[in-house]
């Protein structure tokens, strides 16, 4: 049996996905990246093989993606996460025309053409506003866990306006809002609004076409998804494990490449 693997080495976490000839997922793991990307890739792949009950030689082809993609000596090819997220999202939701990926360090919006091919994309600039990092910093300030943000935001009765776009400014703004005893829920909803406004600029730049699919860790935050849906004016597809979409895309590309090579 021939299997195909995709490994997505991000700055915070590494994901590995293994699929079979029919593109059915036989394993998917998420592990922290820690200090060494080659090691992280190796560990994630081993864990995925174990989950699939398969051995290394059964892997016909491996594609690496993410920031650490060039540090995976055993990968047959390195492909950027933009192309991989596009391929993964297209596979999971074939009607996808626009992919919004909000990750820890950066966020991107990808426009897909027929067959899931990338026709346009944009990424945030160096500023952290509009990334998972922004929410992480703010959640820490508010003493909330990352996974609590969504439910808290949806429980807000009002919304506090966060005027600063800069993470540093917004942080001091949050501090003073807390000092003024503004409810935590309302502040969180305001922060979500700020991040959505930033991401919306990027969505606007590439345009909305067909279905919208959200990937990356922040897609698990129902508060952000809800506000984005409001902006987009249509429901957004979110896969149950949105972080693995990039690795899945890489595995799909591995399968395509293996076929093309015969």
């Amino acid at each position: 049996m021939s299997l195909f693997a995709g490994i997505d080495i991000g700055s915070l976490s590494t994901e590995a996905v293994i699929i079979d000839q029919q593109a059915a997922m036989v394993a998917a793991v998420i592990l922290p990246t820690e200090a060494h990307s080659t090691k992280a890739a190796e560990t994630a792949l081993e864990a995925a093989l174990e989950q699939a009950g398969a051995r290394r030689p059964e892997l016909a082809r491996i594609v690496a993606t993410g920031y650490g993609r060039v540090s995976v000596p055993f990968a047959h090819k390195a492909v950027t996460e933009i192309t991989c997220h596009g391929a993964g999202a297209h596979h999971l939701f074939p009607g996808t025309g626009t992919v919004i990926d909000i990750g820890g360090q950066d966020s991107k919006v990808i426009r897909l053409g027929p067959g899931g091919k990338v026709v346009d994309f944009t990424m945030n600039d160096k500023c952290a506003a509009g990334t998972g990092r922004f929410l992480e910093v703010m959640a820490a300030k508010l003493g909330a866990g990352l996974d609590e943000l969504g439910p808290l935001s949806r429980a807000a009765r009002r919304e506090v306006a966060i005027s600063s776009v800069c993470t540093v400014f917004a942080e001091s703004e949050v501090v003073s809002l807390v000092a003024r005893n503004e409810p935590r829920e309302d502040i969180i909803r305001g922060l979500h609004r700020a991040i959505v406004n930033r991401v919306w600029s990027m969505v606007r730049a590439v345009g909305v076409e067909g279905q919208v699919t959200m990937t990356g860790g922040v897609a698990k935050n129902s508060g952000v998804v809800e506000l984005l849906e409001e902006k987009v004016g249509q429901p957004i597809n979110v896969y149950r494990e949105p972080q693995i979409v990039g690795a899945l895309g890489a595995a799909l590309l591995a399968r395509d490449q293996a076929r093309a090579l015969g």
Binding site: S163, S164, V165, V175, N197, S201, R204, A205
Partner: protein, 437 residues
């Protein structure tokens, strides 16, 4: 120009606008006034100012078709346009309005959504945001037939207006004023005067009105008299206590910026001047307790004018002069009806922002002496590089030469998202402490 549109404009000007103003007056009378603990009694002229500006924006809706409409930069020689009957609209003034109405973040965001960097001038982003969304605190802006810009205030306006020229698909006339690095030369003057004379042909074509030298001279004279009276208004602030605060002048400057060369602006400043002189004679100050006198550098922070006005008054501090408001009075002395084009060129090219920093330093030293200034607040405005680059040196040199304490606020003219209340508070409190020593 269409006859129907002209008739409608006439109707609105003669009947609509006065009716609107009367309605406003009637509404206002119902509000009882209370003495303010911090400020002297409000100026009577303020009501007139509001009427003038409201009427200006109200008539803007009816101007297209009735008059040729020009969008103009704040430093452009508008006196020339008056000859051709242009209805003039100032995007910078509109940007200030967006800032004061706290609409700038929304409009800026709209421009950013269309690819304009958040690091660009926020007046420009507000204006482009209006173009993309149709939103404005002024209701509806008059669609332009002509863009009239001068880079004597910044190069930014040339980039911004060329984008407008592209979107509206209309002509752009630029009055290119070489930066005065050392001194203005004969060649500079020839170049600028030549451009002004050459503009007449396209202006005639766009407006359908023939150039008239007598009208031009009359418009120059009116512009000159308006700027001169504005200068006299500012000079009343040399008195202790000052009858105005700089925050007042940020609003009172609207006519000299937007309606220069029209009788209404001149008349307004005559009335205002009379009222201010009366206050000076009676010793009425704008701030009840004027213990310290301050100077403001750079454009206003339009979303903070009211807050700052209260904050400084609470500390017994009054801003009595600003390089910004002074700019519309400073160079009018060069205007000479016997040599209109060259002297107009000189008047407009020697303004503070088109002049070297040595000139700016001397100007500030003079204003500090004339207005008996105790301290300086420097607004470092992200939007405005020609105003802001060099401020750190100015701060240092003024401290060295005059021992004037000063504080720098890193902020923006309209985009409150680039402003941090906490950082600014800390800096200002340290500044207040330094002034009390």
């Amino acid at each position: 120009m269409s006859f129907a549109a002209a008739m409608r404009y006439r109707f609105m000007k003669d009947l609509g606008a006065p009716a609107l103003m009367a309605a406003r007056r009637a509404m206002r009378k119902k509000r009882p006034s209370r003495p303010d603990p911090l400020f002297g009694p409000p100026l009577k002229s303020l009501a007139r100012l509001k009427e003038i500006m409201m009427r200006h924006y109200f008539l803007a809706r009816y101007a297209p078709g009735a008059h040729p409409v020009a969008w103009v930069t704040s430093g452009a020689p508008v006196e020339l346009l008056r000859v051709f009957g242009f209805y003039t609209f100032y995007p910078e003034n509109h940007g200030a309005m967006c800032g004061a109405a706290h609409m700038a973040p929304e409009l800026c965001q709209a421009a950013e959504d269309h690819g304009y960097s958040q690091d660009l001038c926020s007046y420009a982003r507000c204006d482009l945001g209006h173009y993309f969304t149709g939103k404005s605190p002024a209701g509806q802006l008059p669609k332009p037939d002509l863009l009239f810009a001068s880079n004597n205030i910044c190069q930014t306006v040339t980039y911004w207006f060329k984008a407008l020229a592209h979107y509206y698909d209309i002509p752009l006339i630029l009055f290119d004023t070489p930066f005065n690095f050392d001194q203005i030369t004969e060649s500079d003057l020839r170049y600028m005067a030549g451009q002004l004379e050459e503009m007449i042909t396209p202006l005639q074509r766009i407006s359908g009105v023939k150039f008239d030298q007598a009208k031009f001279l009359a418009s120059l004279e009116l512009g000159r008299a308006t700027s001169e009276t504005w200068g006299q208004v500012l000079q009343t602030m040399r008195h202790r206590p000052s009858p105005l605060t700089i925050f007042d002048t940020f609003f009172h400057m609207a006519p000299v910026v937007s309606l220069r060369g029209l009788p209404v602006a001149y008349d307004y400043y005559q009335t205002l001047l009379e009222e201010l002189r009366d206050r000076v004679a009676r010793g009425i100050g704008a701030v009840k307790l004027e213990r310290k006198r301050l100077m403001w550098d750079n454009i206003a922070m339009w979303y903070k004018v009211r807050d700052f006005s209260n904050l400084f008054a609470e500390h017994g501090m009054n801003f009595v002069v600003a390089t910004y408001t002074n700019a519309w009075a400073e160079t009018i002395q060069y205007l000479d009806p016997d040599d209109p084009f060259r002297s107009l060129a000189k008047t407009y090219s020697l303004v503070i922002l088109n002049n070297n920093l040595d000139h700016r330093l001397s100007l500030m030293e003079r204003l500090i002496a004339d207005y008996q200034v105790d301290g300086l607040v420097i607004h470092s405005a992200r939007s405005c590089k020609p105003y802001s680059v060099g401020q750190y040196d100015l701060k240092r040199l003024l401290m060295e030469r005059l021992a004037i304490p000063s504080v720098v606020i890193e902020a923006d003219i309209t985009d409150s998202r680039a402003y941090s209340e906490e950082q600014t508070r800390t800096r200002l409190e340290a500044f207040f402490e330094a002034l009390e020593d």
